[in-house]
């Protein structure tokens, strides 16, 4: 059985290899739907190697959701994380402003996709309609372009453990827009793009 240090080394190598593959794809194609799909397949393949991500190596949430950095690239590069969400953990429809790809290691998270239907002219007002749904679980993932809108909810009785790859590290995220169909509202969090 590999020691914890050996496992961390193997995991770090696998994550670095993934990011090398990602850059191989994006250097050739840019950030296109087909590139995001190709990256999703790579991330799903890495998430299938669940032995690299034993929960004993990652602190469980003290509430219901926690994010662990796996590899944060220098020079404003990508961020690869392991996320843990407990049943009931949710996020309202939101637009990250940057592409993201998720792949399931264990558990199930429902992702619903939306399209904005208003003209965006009224401040803090927005309407959205659902246009799709996927469940991120082992063997499955999802990819979103820069301004796609999704909501999430951990379903079932197990924690949802996933790999999450973002175009930027979370600490360098652009403004995130949050949509609330019940109130026909939209609110934005401040951009972190100015952060060091």
């Amino acid at each position: 059985m590999a020691s914890r240090a050996d496992m961390a080394t193997r995991r770090a190598r696998a994550c670095a290899a993934l990011l090398a593959q990602v850059h191989g794809i994006t250097d050739k194609e840019g950030i296109t739907p087909s590139a995001l799909h190709a990256i999703k397949l790579k991330l799903v393949a890495l998430a299938r190697r669940a032995e690299l991500f034993p929960l004993s190596d990652f602190t469980m949430p003290e509430a219901q959701g926690r994010t662990h950095p796996l590899l944060l690239e220098d020079n404003d590069g990508h961020g690869l994380y392991l996320t843990i969400g407990l049943p009931g953990k949710e996020a309202a429809p939101h637009d990250h402003g940057i592409w993201c790809i998720n792949a399931g290691i264990s558990g199930r998270e429902r992702n619903r996709f939306y399209r904005r239907t208003d003209d965006g002219r009224t401040p803090q007002h927005a309407t959205v309609i659902q246009v799709g749904e996927v469940v991120v679980e082992p063997g499955h993932g999802m990819a979103m372009a820069d301004h796609d809108i999704h909501s999430t909810e951990v379903v079932g009785h197990e924690p949802s453990v996933q790999l999450a790859l973002y175009g930027y590290a979370l600490a360098r995220f652009p403004s995130v827009s949050w949509f609330h169909p019940a109130f026909s509202s939209v609110r934005a969090t401040a951009s972190r793009r100015h952060a060091a």
Partner: protein, 100 residues
Amino acid sequence: MTNTHEAFQVTIANKAQTISCASDQTILQAAIAAGLDYPYACATGNCATCISKIENGTVSLLPRADAALREAQVKTGLTLACRAQPRSDVTITWLARTAG
């Protein structure tokens, strides 16, 4: 259908206004329904825009992200209005900005 959820009085100290909030409603939902400009963004326990101080009373919290509200903060009386459902009459102050 009869609504069997108990309602409590929630005082938003920043506005010196008291609203009714059912036990299955979050304080943020009740505030928005009452027309109050309570600060919020995600409304699902992820961003902490609605972080608030419970001055009096007790609440129950819906699921949230650790990064939005730590257990140690809960112990000091902080809460997320978007996740907090009243379990008694409550007085609450939002911390995000001084005027809404």
